[in-house]
């Protein structure tokens, strides 16, 4: 074990890989010292596990209705009670973790690269390209985010895929802005000038040299943004335009419990708590990552 630690913590790494691994290790050590960040990591890992093993964890079928057992309070049989169609809320929340995860991952996969590319291109090329791209970004930023997402869902039709597209359309501009700001700083660095002198094409410079350097701040930004994505998705579900019933999407579950809020508080309370915990998990994790990765 000690050899591994030595290998990772050495002051004079003998290869590029060793240097990179060593840096990662030191970052991990710093991360570990932050209890809030570790709590975030635990929550996110728990979310992954719950989503993966949902059928083993959930005691009931999340879709099975039993109209004679509707709106039952929390009990040993139904930990979080039942909803207006007699479905087990705990099981629905467990399965809902999958829905949340799918939305978050799909949005991130779509948004990250798009924002990065637009921002890096804009920042590196400058001139009219920069101005055009930034005006487009401004237009999207000037829109109330939820209203824009709502408009796109309405245009595309309901369903998870469309909700993902709608959220992605509203989520890319901040990424582009961050990437552009980073690029503006990076492009003035001497080694970029050196690469340019060596005759590298503009695309190559953006893709091979600018983008990788923007990556750390983008990873941080992404993790922090996951909470925002979860909230936007829940907001869409709450307004009745996200997932299709009977999919156990947490926002839609809160919306369904709105009518009973004053008598059967559990219907809306537990899905809300689930959103809170998961979003907080991503935020804590992202915050911790920022501390160790993005020290500039």
């Amino acid at each position: 074990m000690t050899t591994w630690t030595d290998y990772l913590t050495t002051d004079s790494p003998s290869s590029r890989r060793q240097a990179r691994l060593g840096q990662l290790y030191r970052q991990w050590l710093a991360f570990k010292r932050n209890p809030l960040a570790v709590a975030g990591l635990v929550i996110v890992v728990a979310l992954l596990l719950i989503a993966a093993f949902a059928p083993l964890i959930a005691p009931h079928n999340p879709l099975a209705q039993n109209l004679d057992k509707r709106l039952l309070p929390p009990s040993a049989v139904n930990f979080f009670g039942t909803d207006s169609l007699g479905r087990d809320i705990f099981s629905r929340i467990v399965y809902g973790a999958r829905v949340t995860l799918v939305i978050v991952l799909l949005v991130v996969i779509t948004v990250g690269p798009v924002g990065l590319l637009i921002g890096a291109t804009s920042g590196y090329l400058g001139g009219w390209v920069d101005r055009l791209l930034m005006r487009i970004t401004d237009v999207f930023l000037a829109f109330p985010r939820l209203v824009l997402a709502l408009a796109f869902v309405a245009a595309l039709g309901p369903g998870l895929e469309n909700a993902v597209i709608a959220i992605a359309i509203t989520a890319w501009p901040p990424y582009a802005r961050v990437a552009r700001a980073e690029t503006l700083i990076i492009r003035q660095q001497d080694y970029i000038a050196a690469v340019r002198l060596q005759g590298a094409s503009q695309w190559r410079i953006v893709w091979k040299h600018v983008v990788p350097l923007c990556l750390p701040s983008l990873i941080v930004r992404t993790t922090l943004d996951m909470a925002g994505i979860i909230l936007t998705a829940a907001g869409l579900g709450f307004l009745g335009l996200g997932a299709q019933p009977p999919i156990p999407e947490w926002g839609a579950m809160i919306s369904a419990g709105r009518e009973q809020i004053f008598d059967q508080w559990w219907v809306a309370t537990f899905p809300g708590l689930a959103i809170c915990v998961v979003a907080l998990g991503f935020n804590l994790l992202g915050d911790g990552l920022r501390d160790v990765m993005d020290q500039r």
Binding site: S84, L85, L239, L241, P245, Q260
Partner: protein, 529 residues
């Protein structure tokens, strides 16, 4: 105390404000919490939606009214009486003397002529209720004529059943407006439309004081109403979207009436001794429309199977109890010719048998456009679970009201879960939409429900259409009953429920009348202790 003194001079109900606790409504004012965001205009020539109908019903009077206890009976309202010519084409109405508008202008035959003229010429959404009798903007002044100050004749183009024509006169579009007042507010020949959208010019129990879209309307009593002054001076109806909020406002005494409580709220206020519930039948029919363009849904056995595949009892008991009741015919209870037959019960075995006969023993996949409001969403999900028992995979497509409706009207749905409310108090209104489709082509002018579900029924259309000329009331009634029974068997409509309107109110307030249509929800009998 300075401000209290000031308040006294400001408003009619201020005196009470200083003495009563905060959470109480003024004594001469009845306050209601209600969903009124459907109001886009208060011009009676345009009002066609639920909430607006209620306002017009209380602000304006009509020539004839139906009996609230038995809507198939009619009596004179502004009209003292009427006669019908032997050829069933000319109706002569004698007006009651001494009726005055809110403005103080006397109500005369000229006002009747003007009211019909403006409704026909403006020809807004409810205009067809009058124009279907052959009134057009070119001939209306000849067809509707003032004989003298208190006598009017109305001539129609064909010998319709008198019950049909008179029933249509009970619709809001046929109310009498104050022609002098409206003319004074005319702009560029608009018949005062821009003005009347937000103001009133009626003779009814209440006059409109203010309306702010999506917020509230305020009505003020007309002390000179010809039926006698209303007891409550002022009615304030406030838009509260959430049923749960409505209920809290009611329980806290912030409002006197909550008008849109759902089943669960009704259950939970039963134990509150300060609150009373009252019900009235409404004409709204809740149904599934099966688009006949879908080859599976076009099979008669499938249509029938689906009617056996809804657990009507369980849905009624658990989801809509108190707000809907089971009903399986296209004419709502209270209409001439309405039937009470309910031939279908939840029977998955029978449904499977029928599906097998249709060549679909393992079911099929199909989508349903569903408004994202309750109880529609819950009913749709219950139906989804019911159908799964016969192997039918129902995918729900949620959307906002206008969104699903747009799709429905374009006939691009598979199944649509919807409500239909009668336009006027005559069986033809529902019969026309559910059982007439004269042209099933895409570009048809008449987009009845039958057309929207691409149900091509030349025979039934003819039979149904003929009934508006059946002058013998009993034969007319029998005719509709026969069509309803046939319709129940063959139609692509799974008719499930009829709406029941519930109003919950504080014990110290009473007297709201919940009639069969929204225009017959009357405030004039309200009282408050």
């Amino acid at each position: 105390m300075r401000h209290v003194a000031k308040l006294l001079t400001v408003s009619a109900f201020t005196a009470l404000m200083a003495t009563t606790a905060m959470a109480q409504t003024p004594k001469d004012t009845v306050v209601m919490a209600k969903q009124i965001d459907d109001i886009i205009s208060l011009d009676p020539a345009e009002v066609f939606e639920f909430s607006g109908g209620e306002v017009v019903g209380n602000v304006y009077d009509k020539l004839v009214r139906f009996d609230l206890a038995d809507p198939s009976k009619l009596y004179g309202d502004l009209a003292e009486g009427w006669t019908i010519s032997p050829d069933s084409k000319t109706y002569t109405f004698k007006l009651k003397p001494n009726v005055k508008f809110h403005s103080g202008n006397p109500l005369t035959a000229a006002d009747v002529v003007y009211s019909f003229q403006r409704a026909v010429v403006l020809n807004k959404s409810p205009g067809f209720i009058l124009t279907q009798f052959g009134l057009t903007k070119d001939n209306v002044t000849e067809m509707v004529k003032a004989v003298d100050d208190k006598t009017v004749t109305i001539t129609v183009d064909k010998p319709y059943a008198p019950s049909f024509f008179l029933n249509c006169l009970t619709a809001n579009v046929a109310v009498i407006v104050d022609s002098k007042l409206v003319k004074a507010n005319e702009k560029a020949g608009d018949f005062g439309y821009e003005w009347l959208k937000q103001n009133s010019a009626g003779s009814g129990a209440y006059k409109l004081r203010a309306w702010r879209a999506n917020e509230q309307y305020t009505l003020e009593a007309n002390p000179d109403w010809f039926m006698g002054a209303p007891k409550v001076k002022r009615v304030v109806v406030r838009h509260v979207a959430e049923p749960a909020s409505q209920r809290l406002l009611l329980e806290k005494g912030d409002v006197d009436y909550a008008r849109n409580l759902s089943k669960d709220q009704l259950d939970s206020i039963k134990s509150n001794a300060d609150i009373v519930q009252q019900v009235g039948d409404k004409g709204y029919i809740l149904y599934l429309g099966l688009n006949q363009k879908n080859p599976n849904l076009a099979k008669p056995e499938v249509r029938e199977a689906l009617k056996y595949l809804v657990d009507y009892d369980s849905i009624e008991r658990n989801i809509v109890a108190g707000t809907y009741k089971p009903h399986q015919a296209f004419l709502p209870k209270g209409f001439l010719g309405a039937i009470d037959d309910r031939p279908y019960k939840f029977d998955p075995a029978k449904a499977k048998e029928l599906l097998a006969k249709a060549g679909l023993p393992n079911g099929f996949s199909v989508t349903m456009d569903t408004r994202s409001v309750n109880p529609i969403t819950d009913i749709a999900q219950a139906v989804q679970a019911n159908w799964a028992q016969a192997g039918i995979k129902l995918e729900l497509i949620p959307g906002d009201g206008k969104q699903t409706l747009t799709k429905y009207r374009a006939r691009t749905h598979d199944i649509y879960i919807g409500q239909w409310g009668p336009d006027y108090q005559d069986p033809h209104t529902n019969a026309e939409t559910f059982a007439i489709n004269e042209n099933n082509a895409e570009d048809a002018r008449s987009k009845t429900l039958a057309w929207r579900n691409a149900w091509d029924i030349p025979e039934m259309s003819k039979k149904t259409g003929a009934l508006v000329f059946e002058t013998d009331s009993d034969k007319r009634k029998a005719g509709y009953e026969a069509i309803e029974r046939e319709h129940q068997k063959v139609s692509p409509f799974v008719i499930m429920f009829q709406q029941v309107e519930v109003a919950a109110h504080r014990k110290n307030v009473d007297g709201l009348i919940l009639g069969p249509g929204s225009a017959a929800n009357l405030y004039s009998t309200l009282s408050k202790n």
